[in-house]
């Protein structure tokens, strides 16, 4: 708990006054390799002691940093164009819950490892395990959140992270008589779910939204075996042709809005 007060954020540069508490800092998740994850807690604007805790994870893999969820989606602040100041997000999710952002795994954002090989051997399993260790140790620093209603939220490749962490928590809780992680559920958006079905659904979307020609659509369906580990040369060529010669300069993440020049 002493570390909790050290982690308290008094005010961020360029931040407007806010009616909620914020904390941020590191939790070591592996002493041997020296892996530590960076978190940022923005407590609820009213009655934080009564509101649930929600852990938010972005995707990538390698992009679960505070650039996305915290700074342009659900966090309380948006960053202005010059990077000099912050302004309030009218639809911040911390009016309904205490939002915990985590930069994960080590190597993303401010989260680091003292073993550089960790940057080249990360994967789903260790990411989920480190995240579980993070939560258990974080709860020691913030004991008021033990047994609190707890949810996990995320998007994109967090379609892996979120259910995999939820599974580890469920298994951990089964093995402990008085589990402190009171996980109630999770919510994921535009979530990577199943390589085979996602791929078919994606190519179908490209065709039904007139991003690719019939010819390319047929070529992808003909040459791509979506259940194979590796894509064939013909498949790669068909998909590359679509992206490089048929999509045009769109923002693939939002196909009807202007792309960033």
């Amino acid at each position: 708990p002493k570390q909790r007060e050290i982690d308290r954020i008094s005010v961020l540069p360029g931040q407007p006054p806010v009616p909620f508490n914020q904390f941020s800092g590191y939790v070591t998740v592996n002493e041997q390799d020296g892996r530590a994850l960076f978190y940022w807690l923005t407590e609820a604007t009213t009655f934080p002691e009564k509101k649930p805790l929600v852990l938010w994870l972005n995707g990538g893999p390698g992009c679960s940093s505070v650039a996305y969820g915290a700074s342009e989606e659900i966090g309380p602040f948006r960053i202005n164009r010059t990077g000099q100041s912050l302004y309030r997000n009218k639809y911040s999710w911390n009016t309904e819950a205490n939002i915990l952002f985590l930069e994960s795994p080590a190597g993303v954002g401010f989260s680091y490892t003292n073993t550089s090989s960790n940057l080249k051997d990360s994967g789903d399993k260790r990411t989920a395990q480190d995240a579980l260790v993070f939560l258990l140790r974080w709860m020691s620093r913030f004991p008021e959140y033990k047994y609190r209603e707890f949810y996990i939220a995320g998007e994109s490749y967090a379609g892996h992270y979120v259910p995999q962490l939820a599974k580890r928590i469920v298994d951990y809780n089964k093995a402990n008589s008085h589990p402190i992680l009171n996980l109630k559920g999770f919510i994921v958006g535009n979530a990577v779910t199943d390589n085979y079905y996602d791929s078919i659904g994606t190519v179908t979307f490209w065709w039904t939204h007139s991003m690719i020609s019939d010819q390319t659509y047929q070529s992808i369906l003909k040459h791509c075996n979506f259940s194979a580990e590796e894509a064939s040369k013909h498949c790669d060529n068909a998909v590359s042709y679509a992206m490089n010669h048929e999509f045009g300069d769109i923002d693939q993440y939002s196909i009807y809005t202007p792309s960033c020049m």
Binding site: I79, K167, V188, T204, T208, I250
Partner: protein, 148 residues
Amino acid sequence: CTENYAEKYYNRPDVQKALHANTTGIPYKWTACSDVLLKYWTDSENSILPTYKNLIEAGLRIWVFSGDTDSVVPVTATRFSLSHLNLKIKTRWYPWYSGRQVGGWTEVYDGLTFATVRGAGHEVPLFQPKRAFILFRSFLAGKELPKS
């Protein structure tokens, strides 16, 4: 271009100090994504559907949503994947509302709620913040999305 704003802000020494971040002198700039991790990612499950089945049995509240203008992990991909869970429909497909506009569409299954968010890209709360907020509030409350 909002990602660029973050790259500016979080690399400022005064911001890192205020956040108690980068206390060990990380030997590279803060970036929104780590290209190294992405490039060398090792184990990645082919399918999360078995985990969904497991967690539905564990009784967790599970919501899956899709911004319907994203072409990277599009709504059709998610629907195609979820359809292979073969879940029983509890509340048939209906439009949900935000203000007097259709915020998207939703269907409630035994163990899982699926919802689209109309006009939102990959980062749903970035493109449709109000609709995303209503979605989140309904999820937390464990209530179906508003029918009007």
